[in-house]
Amino acid sequence: MTPASAAVPSMPKMRLVAMLGLFLGPAVAVYTLFSIYPLIATMALALYTTGPDGEYHFVGLDNFRLLLGDRDWFGPFWNALRNNALFFAVHMLVQNPIGIALAALLSLPDIAFRSTYRTLIFLPTMLSVVIVGLAWNLILSPLWGVASGLLKVFGLGFLFAPWLGLEWSALPTLALISVWQFVGIPLMLIYAALLNIPEDLVNAARVDGLGQFRIFLHVKLPLILPTIGLVSILTFVGNFNAFDLVYSVKGALAGPNFATDILGTFFYRTFFGNQLQVGNPTMGATVATAMFFVILTGVCLYLLFVQRRMLRHTF
C-alpha cells in the first residue's frame, strides 16, 4: 500500500497508528455501536422467541419457517413484498425516465433560466416525505375538490376518482406521489454526469451531422449508464426501506385492505403491533432480517452484474 503523502512515510509507524486512532476513533465508535451492532443484534434476535415467562428462548430458524411457511405470516409478507416490487417498478419506469429526460434537456447548451428550473424542480425533494404525503392527501381528497377541479378545466373531470381510497389505485397513486417528490435525485445525478462528458466527443458527433437527439442516444446515454446504474440501486434501497409515506397517508394498517402495505409498514406492525395484533420484537427482528436479505440481494446483483458490465463498457 502506498502512502498518500510524501511526508507520511517518514512518520514512525506507532505515530501513524496513533493518528489513525485519533481521527478515526469517534466515527468508527459511533457507527459501530449504533449502526452495525444493532443490525447484528437484530439478526441474532431473529433466532429467538419470547416464551410465556417473558424470557428469550433460542429457536434456530423457526421464526423464518413461520414467516415463509405459515399462512398467517406468509400471506401478509408476500403481499408486502409484491406491493413493494410494484412500488419500485413505478419508480424505475416513471421517475428515472423523467429524471433522465429533464436532465438531458437542462444540460443542452444555452438554456435560459437553467438554474431556476433546477432549483424549483428539486424543491419537493427537500421536503419531508410525511409533509408531502399529507399535502397530496388533501389535494387528491374529493372533499377539497382541487384535483377534480383541475381535471375539469381540461375537460377530463370524468376521470377523477378518490384514488388514494380505492384498492386498485391507492398503491400506484402513492408511488406516483413518491416519484413526484424524488425525481430531483436522478435529475441531479444524471445532470452532473452529462456535464462531465468531454465536449470534444459531442462536437465530433455534431460535425458528423448528428442531431441533438441522436447525440444523446448514441453518444451521451452510453456514457451515463454507470450513473443510471447508481440511480437504480439508490432507488431500490430507498424503496425497499420506505415507510413514512404509506404510514402518514394510510396509517399503520396500510389500507384499504392492506393494498398499500409495503415491507416497511409490515415490519412496523409486526414489531410494534397495532389495533389487530400485539407487538412482537422477535418476529419484528425476523422481518427486518428478511428485508436485509432482500436489500442485500439487490445490492449484490448491482455489484455483480450491472457494475461489472459497465466497467467493461467504459474501458
Binding site: 503523502s5 443490525l39 413514512d244
Partner: protein, 278 residues
C-alpha cells in the same frame, strides 16, 4: 457551434421544462396559499391567492395555541444541528485519516464504513430500541442524535473523502515541513477547505434527519421529545377535519425548509453537481 437551434426547438424545450416545473411547485403553492385563507375561500376558490377578505390567519392561531409547535420545532432544530455538527466533524476526521494515513487495513476499514451507505440503519431498530432502554436514553433527544450520527457518517465520509482527495498535496506537505503538528494541519489547513462540501453533505445526510419520521416514532414517546415531522403527523391525525389548522400545520413545516433552500440553493446545487457522486 451552438446557437444553431431553431426557435421552435427552443420553445418546445422551454414548454416542457416549465410545464414540469409547474407540476413540481403547484402542489406546494396550493398548500401555502390556502393556509392563509378563510375556510370558505379554501373550498370555494382553492386556486386563488389569499386576497383582501379571503385572507385569514385562523389556522395558524389554532396550530400555535393547541399544538406544542414551539417545542417540536426547537427539538428538530437541536437534533438536526447537533447531529450535523458531529457528522461533519467525525466524518471529516475519518475521511482525512482514511485518505492520509494509509496502513494495511485502512481499505478494509473504508469498506466497513461504507456498509451503512447501502444497508439502512432502520433494519436495526428492534435492537436500537432495546439498547436505548438499557442505556436509559429511551425518549430522549440524545438517543435520536446518536442514531442520526451513526446513520449520516458513512455517506458523509464518502463525500468528504472525494473532496479531501482533490486538495493539493503540497498544502499539507508544506505545513508538515514547517513542523506543524498533525492535528493542527487537519483543523487549520484542511477543515476550512472543506466548506464547499458542507452543502453536499447537508443534502444527503442532514435533510433526511430533519425530515425523518421513523426514529422519532420509535424512540420518542412523550410530546416533550417529539420532532416537528412527528408532531405534524400526529396533529393532522387529530384535527383532520379542521382544514385551516391542517393547512397551517403543513405550511409551518414546509416554510422554513423552503426559505433555507431558496437562500442556499445555489451552493446546494453546485455542491450536488460538482463533487457529489460520480
Amino acid at each position: 457551434m451552438t446557437a444553431m437551434r431553431p426557435r421552435l426547438a427552443t420553445l418546445a424545450i422551454h414548454s416542457v421544462l416549465s410545464a414540469y416545473t409547474l407540476v413540481a411547485i403547484l402542489p406546494i403553492l396550493l398548500v401555502l396559499m390556502n393556509s392563509f385563507k378563510a375556510r370558505n375561500a379554501i373550498f370555494a376558490a382553492p386556486l386563488m391567492p389569499p386576497l383582501g377578505t379571503t385572507f385569514s390567519l385562523v389556522g395558524y392561531a389554532k396550530v400555535l395555541s393547541t399544538a406544542h409547535a414551539g417545542t417540536y420545532f426547537a427539538n428538530s432544530m437541536l437534533v438536526t444541528l447537533i447531529s450535523m455538527f458531529l457528522v461533519l466533524l467525525f466524518g471529516a476526521m475519518a475521511a482525512w485519516a482514511l485518505t492520509e494515513y494509509k496502513v494495511r487495513g485502512t481499505t478494509l476499514l473504508a469498506i466497513f464504513l461504507s456498509i451503512g451507505i447501502m444497508v439502512p440503519i432502520r433494519l436495526g431498530s428492534v435492537a436500537i430500541l432495546t439498547m436505548m432502554r438499557r442505556l436509559g436514553l429511551n425518549d430522549t433527544l440524545i438517543a435520536l442524535i446518536l442514531v442520526y450520527v451513526a446513520q449520516g457518517l458513512p455517506m458523509a465520509i464518502f463525500i468528504l473523502s472525494e473532496f479531501i482527495q482533490q486538495i493539493p498535496r503540497d498544502l499539507r506537505d508544506a505545513a508538515r515541513c514547517d513542523g506543524v503538528p498533525e492535528t493542527l494541519i487537519f483543523f487549520q489547513v484542511i477543515a476550512p477547505l472543506l466548506r464547499p462540501a458542507i452543502a453536499t453533505v447537508a443534502v444527503f445526510t442532514i435533510v433526511p434527519i430533519w425530515n425523518d419520521l421513523w426514529f422519532p416514532l420509535i424512540l420518542t414517546s412523550s410530546e416533550r421529545t417529539h420532532t416537528i415531522t412527528l408532531g405534524v403527523q400526529q396533529f393532522l391525525g387529530q384535527y383532520i377535519t379542521d382544514w385551516n389548522a391542517v393547512l397551517a400545520a403543513l405550511s409551518l413545516a414546509i416554510l422554513p425548509v423552503v426559505v433555507i433552500y431558496i437562500l442556499f440553493s445555489r451552493q446546494l446545487i453546485s455542491g450536488l453537481t460538482a463533487g457529489a457522486v460520480k
